[in-house]
């Protein structure tokens, strides 16, 4: 569910950029060019994000870390290592 919401959120976001981005630019003779630029930007950025997100959605392999790194991560990212 969360995944779908995330994808919808970013899709809506980039669609909004494509739709409303050109408004930010002052009207001029190159209106069509500006629209095209925003549309393409939105498409490529969305696709790029989507690929990155889906590639990590269900990782088939996990990060391989050495003990030192794990301890550093545990202390600085806040995953306390339990005793035992």
């Amino acid at each position: 569910m969360e995944v779908i919401l995330m994808i919808i959120f970013f899709t809506v976001f980039w669609a909004a950029v494509a739709k409303f981005g050109p408004i930010l630019v002052t009207k001029g003779p190159q209106d069509d060019l500006v629209r095209c630029i925003f549309l393409l930007t939105a498409v490529v950025c969305w696709l790029f994000w989507l690929c990155c997100y889906l590639a990590q959605l269900n990782p088939l392999l996990g990060p391989k870390l050495d003990g030192k790194t794990i301890r550093i991560i545990a202390s600085s990212w806040g995953y306390p290592i339990k005793d035992g």
Partner: protein, 813 residues
Amino acid sequence: MGDMFRSEKMALCQLFIQPEAAYASIAELGESGCVQFRDLNDEVSAFQRKYVTEVRRCDDMERRLRYVESEMKKDEVDVPVLKAEEEPSAPNPREAVDLEAQLEKTDNELREMSANGASLAANFRHMQELKSVLVNTEGFFSDQEVINLDSNRRLDPEDPAQAPGAAQRGQLAFVAGVIKLERFFSFERMLWRISRGNIFLRRADIDGLVEDEETGRPVLKTVFVAFFQGEQLKQRIKKVCTGYHAAVYPCPSAHAERLEMIKDVNVRLEDLKLVLSQSADHRSRVLNSASKHLPRWSIMVRKMKAIYHILNFFNPDVTGKCLIGEGWVPTNDIATVQEALARASKVSESSIPAFMNVIETNEMPPTYTRTNKFTNGFQNLVDSYGMASYREVNPALYACITFPFLFAVMFGDLGHGLILLLFASWLIIKEKQLASIKEEIFNIFFGGRYIILLMGIFSIYTGFIYNDVFSKSMNIFGSAWHMNYTRDTVEDASLKYITLRPNDTVYKTYPFGMDPIWQLADNKIIFLNTFKMKLSIIVGVVHMIFGVTMSVVNFAYYKKYASIFLEFLPQVLFLMLLFGYMVFMMFFKWVTYNDTVEGPLSPACAPSILILFINMILQGSQDTPEPCKEFMFEGQKSIQQVFVVIAIICIPWMLLGKPLYILLKRKISGAPPPKPQGGGGEGHGDDDAMGEIFIHQAIHTIEYVLSTVSHTASYLRLWALWHATQLSEVLWNMVFSMGFKYDSYIGGALIYVFFGAWALLTVGILVLIEGLSAFLHTLRLHWVEFMSKFYEGAGYAFEPFAFKTILDVSEDD
């Protein structure tokens, strides 16, 4: 769509101008700059054209201008830079006569002055040399008198053998002069030889450098006096002096006379100095007053010459009452041209106004795309591959975004992108000041400043997604990999590495970009490789499908509807059913397989996309251990078979479809095919022989089928080039981080040094060299992989007659 989508519509226009209004009309058109004139007198040689005398007059004026300019350079007179709004228009004929007269006057005046100046300077030099001869010989003569006394004293008047020579011996003759120091020694030897040693030569170097009369370069000179006996020897010595270019000066032998002469020479020198300084004053006054007008003059002359040059393209009417010219005009600018003509008729008070006709033609018009400073760089990238055919879809419009994006996929690093962005922003903010710099390498960067800006912005975005800032990651949203290890596990010395698995942690996908934990992981490269290879193929296939789709727009525009079904459809089906399907499999694998389940969807069972794809093409299969399945979903095998069959059908469809269609059309019409209109679209016309059409189509088909495979593989360079930017990690570990390993003050100093090295290498190697190589690969992906799908590029550029370009070009020379 806007201006960028296609090149402008052009019209071939015929201009009818009265001869008296011709000059003014062309001047107006040159200012507006929207007509590309065609030479209607192709067969007439340059010397027989109508306005050849006027062009020659302009040449003459240019020559004079060049002379005046070179004189100014000699005297280092500054020529003021003309502001754009002060630029003069082309002179009307009356002004032109004035201008010519003025130029001639200045030129002649300068020439006369420089001739006079040269003779005065030579005179002055001689006087100076004479003076130094007189002054320096003073010492020799006092010595000489002593020697004379000695020889007189030793002379025995009773000795008959010596008596006849006594008179001459008492009076040694001499020659005094000035010679270049470098020649003096061989000169001395020569004198010694011709006189068999009976000569006495003295010299005194002149202090400082003296101007050489032949070359004008400063040289060392020396004064010499040769003492000898006899008239014969004197003649010989004089000859030697001429041979050695030694200047001989008259020099009285008596002391009093010499003093008198020195006085005289001094007076004359003073006079000469006065004259020289006055003439220099006059010269600089003339040059200064000319320098104020020079830029205006040269612009006027250049404009005038350009106008007559264009007028030579015009065809004089048989009656001679009218000049006829032809040229391409963008249809949007026809009104501008008409206005310009009306203005010119009014100015020249011509009785009949000039007018313009649009004429029908079968010729292919030139390609003209209006650009602004933002799109100009992108348009140049496309144009350097090939000027678009007339009204063809313009890839530059899409390159505005796809170019920086593909660059950023390779270059992706937030830090490096920021450097690019800052550099480009500096170029853009200081645009006005920097535009005047005429350095070649700099101009390349300056011309592409908006490309660099977008490349920077996109690199920042992709760097954010790759989570790469100078090879470091940011943990903004909290890593997805939560750990709950116990102290025993972590401190177990037997476990060198621990591999995290999603099913023993609480896994939530990192929402935006790469999870920062991968930056620290030992298997980072393995994970990123699979991701980035897939990413490259996905981006590539989307890019290529987009390219193929563009060809529909072209076919529709040129009304080749049959080509949509006979070329586009099989092409796009072939691409989609093979590589589009592969992209689908990638997404499918990402979504369905995961580590939290057992059975056929577990990681161990995940099939390799590449193997699946190869098996699909070759109809092979592979053994899979239980509980895995060979295919990812039910019915995949039959779907694949259908896809492959359709894709194979596409090949003969591409190969034979179009030629058979043309054959059929010819049979039905029975008449010879009409000439192609406008010449747009494919390079081969429909009126070629059938055999040629078949061969062409065969080549086209083979090329497309093979290139579909090779181009897809070619997009893997997006992944390969990204590896090169991984050098920044090496740089961090090997250079910068070394500074962190020391304590106290030394550590601080070392960080300073290592930071310098790291920063220098980052900018030099990673940003500049990697940036350039990524740029070149992006260019290739556009030119070859993208544009070959639809772009013909067989047009020629619109080069309007405009004073602006003419003046710019001559400024560069």
